[in-house]
Amino acid sequence: MQELRVKISGFGGQGIILSSYIVGKAAAIFDGKNSSMTQAYGPEARGGACSSQVVISDEEIDYPLVDVANVLIAMSQEAYDKFLPILKKKGILLYDTDLVKEVQIHNEIVAKAIPATRLAEEMGKKIVANIVMLGFATAQTKISSYDAMKSSIKESVPARFIELNMKAFQIGYDYIGD
């Protein structure tokens, strides 16, 4: 497998870092690959720009940072504006339709949109927007197998919210990209 470099970005409080953790764990523990997750955040906890990154590979990972991405997940306009330039040619952009409104898609990348936050709100829990997005990412990219991602989510969220998160994952997975 080709090395995959994934950037997940948004603002503090959206579960951006948890999302990377789940992606990395799916690869390292459940898909039998190597993965390396690193995070960057501002001094403020909520509302500030937040990004995290995962490298997934069959080989040992030397360079752990993502300054060129194969997959970019953008959960805010700021995140989109900041990180679109690092997306490789033929890279995949996944973004939240309602949070990233000014989009200039060019034909060198593959762009797929999902109203992840709105879908989560329709479930009654805005907080699972990140899991909806991970379901969408599992269907649209090669970051994880279906089973590995589900197992990783199950092990990474509180027991009483597993069912809710599984539902959110499935909604994202089944969504046909805009």
Partner: protein, 384 residues
Amino acid sequence: MKQSNLHGEFFMQGNIACAEAALSAGCRFFGGYPITPASEIAERMAFRLPQVGGSFVQFEDEIASMASILGASWAGVKSMTASSGPGISLMLENIGLGIMMETPCVVVNVQRGSPSTGLPTSWGQSDMMQARFGSHGDYGVIALAPKSPQEYFDLTIVAFNYAEKYRLPVFVTSDAIVGHMTEKVYIPPVDELEIINRKYTNKKPGDYQPYTIEPGQWVSDFAKAGDGYLYHSTGLTHDERGYPDMSEACHIQLVNRLIDKIKMNVDDIILLEERDLDDADVVVVTFGTTARTVVPGINLAKKKGIKVGFLRLITVWPFPEQKIRDLAKHVKGFVVPEINMGQIVLEVERCAGGVLTKSLPHPGGGIHDFKDVAKAIEEVAYAK
């Protein structure tokens, strides 16, 4: 119910792996004060120590924190603290006391951008000379620099072992990258780990002196508190009884031993990772996470036909002087990338005996551009 040490494969953050390693090594006391990017270690220890019958105390500052782990160690418990540059600065006086009283303990410095409060959430490796010379006076020191969460786990165990074996505070000098990096970490069952525990005297209370060095040893054996041994220790220059002795002769003997117990055991203490050194023209000397971020630069230089060797200092202090001297006999030069303005390069240069040594500094908050690494290697390879 006491919950035992973890065992198995985990997707684990570096700082958490460090805390779990401490528990596996038998650490049962943590005294500290929170600071980014080291707080996860304290947080984890606060959660986990009570589960294994240990104690966690958050103190009013780093001065008290460092004092507390010395006290815990003297009470017979393996102890540690964790901080970052600003906190370590406050701890240094008591680290010196720990060195003088020969107190086993572990001090983790998750380095961030410095000086002063610098870049709390970002990267640096600029406390390497602080670890070596930060406290006043002359002494030997041990510092270990992990490059991954797995190694953070492994080296924290090693740090506890060295602390007991050589009786001193041992530094784990990590950084914000590896501290906040999450990767697969395998934690072996505790009985499969090599753990060095405290060596207690087999002498009777009346025959025992706390600083009598037995033949063939570099440090003295401990006595158990509460077992009837008379005990005295001090930061003043002291004799075998642990009593102050202000004579020149006593001072010479003591200071020499604090240095020699490390210097004469470098073969035991120094851990290195070596790649492609045999026919190398240029050797990149690196440590910590920089050893990973410079790899694309090394690969680019190799593609251009340069024979590049790689020497990673897993043990940064004591410095592997002999290794650099040996390499200097057959290489064109060294390149030393580090996230500071040129600290370890001074040591390389000192041992290189005039062989070209190129510093590749970075003040922190980012990492080296791999093209700069490749360019530095080229400059050394094609130097006239």
